[in-house]
């Protein structure tokens, strides 16, 4: 077994962060604020992850793989964790004694996702998935004085437990049918119902666990409720990073998903249902977090477009799109968290007159919303463009057309965010804001990143492209 600590530096570093936070939860001393400490550590972690880009190795008896895919996703996870923890530093609904625990769970979940992006063996994948999920189960109810949060947590656990059970059940079928749990060996086996009925059924069941993470139709029911119930800052994390874990596994498994297979068609159909349902349901919402919840259901569907293409370009497009998704959602949630000074949920009407109260927040929101629509010249457009282009003429043209028609549906509710911010007048007693100049600056950097990635996607896309090429040469 070749073991090199330098190659697994990001996850080792993250483990050290967790150890540090664990110590803080034990020590009664509160001289250091856990939030600021985590944010600073996460910033350093981002640099560590950047430094470890480009490693190549297979470790732990072939169960753990360092390659382009894993390092690309670890980079996004480190970036997302940095922004999410920075966002969570000022959290009005988090009770003071729980602060170290909160950040411990946050770091633990991100660590699980990092492990997930390197796992290439089904049981390792399963364990990594559980590490990241269990931390989230405990994270969601941490919203002081709020019964909704407890309800959300119970929904999340129940749904999660069922999805995990189904997933484990499927894992059993796969093992029984194909006699191996290594993805590299599984990829060489047949996956059609005719040739391997048990394994094909098992794979679909196994994927259910990831569909649940991704909030893909019909595993999406928890999504708007959990966003709604959990605190704004927690929702910002739950809405972004766990999707990365789901997508990285789907990207790894995509080597088995040849176009025309029943499983691939099932993915395409689920993708189409997911985007259509998500967009239609979002039209009727008035709570901004619920809108974003249904929007993430729709975006899970868009990612399927790239996966069903089953080409290197398709996989890199899907990887790139999930990065863009994380970026624009973090920008959007950044606005919500800083708009809601006392931590309450933001309704559409609370956005009224935002362009007068805080032009910077309004501008960030507008950029993020137009990017979510997929309007050029934002990152959302170029991401969608890569997805659609890679999938055209790969056997699922109808899915591409459904995706574009869905863009047309989704304009309305995203535009609604901008419309409330720019054209409505502020209410007499507007929601109290807590946006410091530093917070605005970070938000503007996020918005600028959305625009820059949209115009010059090259540098980041090349990483995604290299990742795709390693999986499907």
């Amino acid at each position: 077994m070749n073991f090199d600590l330098l190659l697994i530096l990001p996850e080792t570093y993250q483990l050290l962060v967790i150890a540090g936070l664990f110590y803080m939860t034990l020590a009664g001393r509160r001289s250091i604020d856990a939030g600021r400490w985590t944010a600073a550590a996460a910033g350093l972690g981002l640099l560590v992850t950047i430094a470890s880009l480009g490693g190549e190795s297979l470790m732990f008896y072939g169960a753990y793989k360092i390659d382009g895919v894993s390092q690309f996703f670890k980079l996004i996870i480190a970036f997302g964790f940095f922004i999410a923890s920075l966002n969570a530093v000022r959290q009005p609904t988090l009770a003071e004694p729980e602060r170290p625990d909160y950040f411990l769970l946050l770091a633990m979940s991100a660590w699980g996702l990092m492990l997930l992006s390197s796992s290439v063996e089904l049981i390792t994948i399963y364990i990594a998935l559980e590490i990241s999920s269990y931390s989230l189960y405990a994270l969601i109810p941490l919203r002081a004085q709020n019964r909704g949060a407890a309800e959300a947590a119970i929904k999340y656990i129940l749904f999660g437990a069922v999805a995990t059970a189904v997933s484990l059940y499927g894992l059993g079928f796969i093992l029984a049918g194909q006699h191996t749990s290594y993805i590299a060996e599984l990829a060489a086996k047949p996956w059609s119902f005719a040739q391997a009925p048990m394994a094909a059924l098992g794979l679909i069941l196994f994927l259910a666990g990831f569909f649940y993470k991704l909030a893909l139709f019909p595993f999406h029911f928890w999504c708007p409720d959990v966003y709604d119930g959990s605190s704004n800052e927690t929702a910002a994390y739950v809405a972004t990073l766990p999707k990365l874990g789901a997508v990285v596994i789907l990207v790894r498994l995509a080597a088995m998903l040849k176009p025309g297979l029943e499983i691939t068609t099932a993915l395409a159909v689920l993708g189409a249902c997911s985007m259509t349902f998500g967009n239609l349901a979002a039209l009727a919402q008035t709570d901004v977090k619920r809108i974003l919840g249904f929007s993430s259901v729709a975006h899970a569907g868009y990612v399927m477009v790239g996966l069903t293409a089953a080409t290197a370009k398709g996989l890199s497009a899907a990887s790139f799109y999930i990065f863009v998704y994380v970026l624009m959602n973090l920008a959007c949630f950044w606005v919500l968290c800083h708009l809601s000074g006392d931590g309450r949920n933001v309704k559409l009407d609370d956005l009224n007159g935002l362009h007068r109260r805080s032009p910077a927040l309004a501008a960030i929101l507008a950029v993020a919303a137009f990017s979510l629509v997929g309007l050029p010249p934002t990152a959302g457009f170029i991401g969608k463009f890569f997805l659609l282009t890679s999938a055209w003429n790969q056997g699922y043209n109808w899915l591409v057309i459904v995706a574009t028609l869905n863009t047309a549906i989704s304009i309305y509710y995203y535009l609604n965010l901008v419309r409330h911010a720019y054209t409505e007048d502020a209410a007499a007693a507007p929601i109290p804001m807590a946006a410091s100049p530093a917070a605005l600056a970070v938000g503007l950097v996020l918005a600028a990143a959305v625009l820059v990635v949209g115009v010059l996607p090259g540098p980041i896309f090349n990483y995604a492209a290299a990742a795709g090429a390693t999986l499907l040469p």
Binding site: H355, A366, F370, V373, L375, P376, P377, F381, F385, F386, L388, T389, W392, N393, V400, I401, T404, L405, T407, A408, I411, Y412, L415, R419, Y422, T423, P457, G458, F461, A465
Partner: protein, 521 residues
């Protein structure tokens, strides 16, 4: 690229963006007006090489710039102008300082943001007319929606929320399928580069669907008859400058799209669908005319008259002969000048009367002679009075139409008569109507500022009306090449498409069109 020593088109696209960024850091409203005006004058100066170094008689693209953007995906930053786009670029640039001037007192709050939107708008519009890469075109095409939406939604009239939402939903929904068509062309042709895509032949079935997807986006933008309902709403609610850009530049993009993309990429489908498109154009001409007759709101009247004028434009395009397409391009240019000017004048009178109702703006002739002088000039031009610019375009379109088919020609004629009816009715009421609105209210006649932005447009109106030769010299080579290419490729495709689709109708239409084309030139 090197004709002027600097990349002219890139400079034209990016200078307004840079100016907008600088403007963002200015504090004072008055200062932001002066700054934007100065920037727009610089922009006009930057455009001078287009006039000076444009080679007449050449059909190819000029001022070409081509830099790889995402080579793996076939994307490039490819710009260029030819006879079809040159005037639209110039018009966009010329309109900018006038928009700043006509908003000088009209826009009373958040002037800085307003001018930022204007500048963004200008650079996106120039980009649309210059882009020779399909995705680059799409980027500019969509990017233009956001500033326009904000112009209507923030600075618009009382129903601005409704109008801006309708504008945005309509135009964006229409262009989503355009993206699918673009991607399909990439897979069929192997590149997004328009100059290369133009040289390939596509099977008829492919053209059929690609044309439908593109035509939906372009028809909504034009707007052609059943898709026009966003236009009056947007025009009425938009601030003066917004209406001007909408009328002069934005709706021309639809017609430009038909010429640049449909005609070169899907010629056979274009021919196949021509009868339907002609019918819609004539419906638009007549419908726009009749609805204009019944309006009591000046701005609405002009908005519906735009539907009619753009009907002439698309009618000319689908005639597929030199006169028709030439005429369509002249209608685009002249409608931009005249209707732009009329919207500015409506803004000017609105600042005096605070109403756009005809009844509140009557009998101005005695009190505001200079205003009515200009208004009369533009009204007469708009109804197609010989010797003024709009006549040139309409006459050419009608010549083209009659050359093709007497039937279509006679159907379009009432549209021209309706134009005279509604414009003269409006002009008569505004000039002589009683009771005279300005009586005893002390309205001033045109200020120097208003003279400054109306006079150039008036000069152009008369100049193009009397001497359209120069404009036609710019347009003709490109149009001739466009039509020649189209004819050869439409025939080529129809032969290979013999075994599929509605071939009989196609062949018949083609025969009819090509025969009459040959005899009429």
């Amino acid at each position: 690229m090197t004709e002027a020593g600097y990349p002219v088109l890139t400079a034209l696209i990016f200078f307004p963006l840079v100016a907008a960024l600088v403007l963002f850091f200015l504090r004072h409203d008055g200062l932001s007006r002066v700054f934007t005006l100065a920037a727009s004058v610089v922009e006009v100066l930057l455009a001078l090489p287009l006039l000076r170094s444009y080679k007449l008689g050449e059909a190819a693209f000029q001022f070409v710039e081509n830099v790889p953007w995402m080579p793996d995906w076939g994307l490039s930053y490819h710009l260029g102008v030819d006879g079809i786009s040159l005037f639209m670029v110039l018009l966009t640039i010329l309109i900018l300082p006038m928009c700043v001037l006509c908003s000088w007192t009209y826009i009373k709050f958040r002037a800085k943001e307003f001018h930022v939107c204007l500048l963004f708008m200008t650079s996106a519009c120039i980009g649309v007319f210059c882009a020779l890469d399909f995705i680059l075109f799409y980027v500019f095409w969509e990017a233009m929606l956001v500033p326009m939406y904000l112009l209507i939604a923030v600075w618009g009239g009382p129903r601005r929320k409704y109008a801006s939402l309708k504008f945005f939903l309509y135009t964006l929904a229409g262009s989503t399928l355009l993206l699918v068509a673009i991607i399909a062309f990439y897979k069929a042709g192997g590149t997004f580069d328009l100059t290369e895509l133009m040289t390939r032949d596509y099977p008829f079935r492919f053209q059929f669907w690609a044309f439908l997807a593109m035509a939906l986006a372009f028809a909504i933008k034009v707007p052609m008859f059943p898709f026009h309902t966003w236009l009056p709403a947007a025009h009425v609610e938009a601030p003066s400058a917004g209406s001007v850009i909408l009328a002069s530049v934005l709706i021309k993009m639809g017609a430009y799209g038909f010429l640049r993309f449909c005609m070169t990429l899907t010629p056979a489908a274009m021919v196949y669908f021509a009868p339907w498109m002609i019918a819609l154009s004539i419906a638009g001409i007549l419908y726009g005319g009749f609805i204009s007759l019944g309006q009591s709101d000046v701005k609405k009247l002009i908005a519906y008259s735009s539907v009619a004028h753009m009907g002439f434009c698309t009618l000319g395009i689908f005639m597929f002969n030199l006169r028709g397409v030439e005429g369509a391009l002249m209608v685009m240019l002249n409608h931009g000048i005249v209707t732009g000017a009329m919207f500015m004048m409506i803004g000017a009178i609105y600042e005096r009367s605070h109403s756009r109702e005809i009844a509140d703006n009557m009998g101005l002739g005695k009190y505001l002679p200079a205003f009515i002088g200009f208004w009369g000039l533009f009204s007469l031009s708009s109804l197609g009075f010989p010797g003024l610019n709009s006549f040139v375009g309409e006459a050419l379109v009608l010549i083209g139409t009659f050359g093709q088919s007497w039937f279509w020609g006679f159907l379009a004629i009432p549209g021209a008569m309706l134009g005279a009816a509604y414009m003269l009715r409006l002009l008569q009421k505004m000039t002589y109507g009683a009771p005279a609105s300005p009586k005893g209210k002390g309205w001033s006649d045109l200020h120097v500022r208003e003279w400054v932005y109306l006079a150039p447009l008036a000069i152009l109106t008369i100049y193009i009306g009397l001497a359209p030769g120069l404009a036609l010299k710019v347009i003709d080579p490109s149009v001739e090449k466009l039509l020649a290419d189209m004819r050869t490729r439409a025939t080529a495709t129809s032969v290979t498409a013999e075994d599929q689709g509605p071939k009989a109708a196609l062949a018949a239409t083609l025969d009819m069109l090509l025969k009459s084309d040959g005899t009429n030139q």
